[in-house]
Amino acid sequence: MIYKTSPEIGGMGHSVKRKEDLRFIQGKGNYVDDVNLPGMVYGQVVRSPYAHARINSINTEKAKAVPGVLAVITGEDLAKANLAWMPTLSYDKQMVLATGKVLFQSQEVAFVVAEDRYIAADAAELVEVDYEELPVLVDPNKALDSGAPLVREDREQKNNHIFHWEVGNREATEQVFQSAEVRASVKAFFPRCHPAPLETCGCVADFSRATGRLTVYLTSQAPHAHRTVLALVGGIPENNIRVISPDIGGGFGNKVPVYPGYVCAVVASLTLGVPVKWIETRSENLQSTGFARDYHMMAEIASDRDGRMKALRVKTLADHGAFNATAQPTKFPAGLFSICTGSYEYAQAFCEVDGVYTNKAPGGVAYRCSFRVTEAAYLIERVVDVLALELKMDPAELRLKNFIPEDKFPYKSSLGWTYDSGNYEGAMKLALDRIGYQELRKEQAEKRKKGELMGIGISSFTEIVGAGPSHDFDILGIKMFDSCEIRVHPTGKAMARMGTKSQGQGHETTYAQIVAQELGIPAGDVTIEEGDTDTAPYGLGTYASRSTPTSGAATAVAARKIRDKAKKIAAYLLECNENDLEWEPGKFFVKGAPSKSKTIQDIAFAAYTNFPPGMEPGLEAVDYYDPPNLTFPFGTYICVVDIDQGTGEVKVRRFLAVDDCGNIINPMIVEGQIHGGLTEGLAIAFMQQIDYDESGNVQGGSFMDYLLPTAVETPHWETDKTCTPCPHHPFGAKGVGESPNVGSPAAFVNAVVDALSHLGVKHIDMPITPWKVWKVLQEKGVAA
């Protein structure tokens, strides 16, 4: 149990109002596009209309002749400085500006710099590019065919294959399948979708010829890592680079990669010696920056007739687009996809993934997801439902029968992960009870008799987050620890800085609550600052639900270091032995004499004014936290839908999310995270897809075609929780940001399929649009 501090202190478990919201709701946030520097000029990217074409020539003369245009940069220009290509986060390389040929529609071809944003946009229209169209590779299933168009001529390997990755025991799994009483399989496509953060990507690059320093205001989820990449790519000494991530309007993985526009702005600023601003339009964001998912998956479960699962095998084709720019820990080309065993026990499992190039935008970012965990959770929760259909067993009963039992944690999965803690049965039983599962099944049976369509979908997902332990996790070689530095000021107020970067998660509040919990300094007296690489300690940033598991842990550990020192100062002030002191958040007191005490504020003042002889003055600490394991949040989501037979429209009647993310810092923020993630999950399940036609034209490249859910589409979310603390985290937290996005798609799809299962429907791919459902209803002769 976590000690509950007073509301005045506002430590863990208090729904402290978000400090950052005061400026956000007043429109006083400071985003990259709010940064305006004297003499600043503007960049505009010229993009390819073709998915695959040879560039015969680029004529920039007309654009350069426009008054106000300062420069037009092409790939050829960058090649002279050896900057036409840049490394991706997955040991591939990516064109900054195209040379030779373009590989996807909207690829960056030239960069126009002008005194004014409008002039830059107009001049970009005047850049004439002579293209020669090439055959286009759109379908990843054809990527490895002989005679398939070769996407990457620059590679030594002359095919479109990027990687093959497998884990588990293929032969042993095969054996189980051969003798299995029952097999159930599903082919499920997790469509290419896009995080579509409210704020698009952009930067202001400011190179000062006077100081030789480059300051980059960047929409970055990982400012420190980006500083290192800029140093490596640009050859600028890292001490001369300062990356500042100001307020960020949502990231969801989209702001992890380095984009060509950033590099172009930096090059332009280095060349012109003035600040250069580049901000994407919405369509540029959707069409060219990191997409997510695009996994063509197959899963098969072997079980006995009683529904005891025996083995799982998974085969996946991953469409990575034109460059392998997925943000992935080095050892894991398919991320943490091998969490696909989910919440269940099997004797054997085997999983293989092949990545291929196509003529599509690069990406494969972890959209509110800890590297392919969403794909994995969706797949397993889908195939379990198919098995339930096969067995004619209730999907809840089948799950309960196969859950990893509570007493088996820490549990080593057949694909190699050590699950930290869990009580899957507990979460599920609470969910079934709260939603009134048995009554809903009765209602469904009655409705079916009347010919009405109603479905109940369950998803009992397990997550794997908080990357990660240095023995397995690095990006470009940099280990995935994270950090915190706390300075307690003489008056007892504190400042803490982290290597992570909030994009709306509420770090300024939650980190302050951790300090409050550990030191008893009121959360309101603790200022949190992130995102400035000149001041914050090094860290790998915020994504993969890693802030609480890594920097949150570092914050607690740093605070404990301060507390250790504070104890020494308290003993000095109280003229007693350290061992005679007891702590309660906010003060040390003498055992048995609680009136003899020193508050943390008294101690802080003494740390600068009256510290023990020989002691180093001040009250500060820093911690770089290397987590011993990942964390495994989980939950059960239940969705109830009604389907209109006339229109195929799916109406979500109820949705209950029972989450277990271990100990909670701020219940209100956790609930907000769950609401947000469920809404994104709803959009993915029913509305969104970045699709391409056969010529490689983007068919989801604007908000006209890529739909965002509004209050109108969003149902009422019901939430509840169980609490199974993480055994290895300093305060037992697991992280929650992604759970709703990871767990919900399967619940939505399972509900729709459940409503139609008596008609012989086993699976429908997302996005489940009314048109798709209506077609199924027509086929089955049900459509009104």
Binding site: P49, Y50, A51, Q105, E125, L126, V127, E128, V129, D130, Y131, E133, S283, Q287, D693, E694, S695, G696, N697, V698, Q699, G701, S702, M704, D705, W771
Partner: protein
């Protein structure tokens, strides 16, 4: 993006007169909104241009039109047109087969089957919009075709080249396309 559009309409003119018109790309071009023939390359090949403006996006295609097949006996013509936007914003192609059939009332039935391919900015509008835009263009084409046939025949080259041709109207098209979406399911809607 590939679309297939089939249209059939009637004109109150004898089949031979209609054939003389249909088999001459210079004449046909005068009926296509926003299009013009700029030069003749050889007996079967012409250079041409077409401006299409949808919303804020103007595409200005230039390219070639070629008569692939001319079956005078059966009154059937197959035309292949290919063009690139002058500023490299994309390309378009069209294969059109036109067939004439004499009607009992001494009029003629014109049947066209067009396969249209669009790559680039315009194609991003999606098939729902592009199909509607094409439908509207064909509607305009039919009207112009019928009107031009009624005119006394003159030098076919005169109206077809050199004229300052206006692009098809942006807002009107967008609005009609929107109405089209609600009118019913478009052929390739998905």
């Amino acid at each position: 993006m590939a679309l297939k559009i089939e249209k059939t309409f009637e004109v109150p003119e004898p089949v031979e007169k209609v054939w003389a018109f249909l088999s001459d790309p210079r004449m046909v071009a005068t009926c296509v909104p926003g299009a013009q023939i700029t030069a003749q390359v050889d007996e079967k090949t012409y250079k041409g241009a077409i401006k299409v403006k949808v919303g804020p996006s103007i595409t200005d295609y230039t390219g070639e039109v070629q008569i692939v097949r001319l079956d005078t006996e059966n009154h059937e013509i197959e035309i292949l047109g290919k063009g690139q936007d002058v500023r490299g914003r994309g390309s378009a192609s069209m294969k059109m087969t036109g067939t004439l059939r004499a009607l009992d009332n001494s009029g003629t039935e014109v049947r066209s089957v067009s396969e249209i391919g669009v790559v680039g900015i315009l194609a991003q509008m999606g098939s729902r919009v592009i199909t509607e835009v094409s439908n509207i263009m064909f509607g305009e084409f039919t009207k112009n075709f019928q009107a031009r046939l009624k005119e006394p025949s003159d030098d076919p080259a005169a109206p077809a080249t050199g004229a300052d041709v206006k692009p098809i109207k942006a807002t009107a098209v967008a609005w009609q396309a929107t109405k089209g979406l609600f009118r019913g399911k478009s052929e390739s809607g998905s």
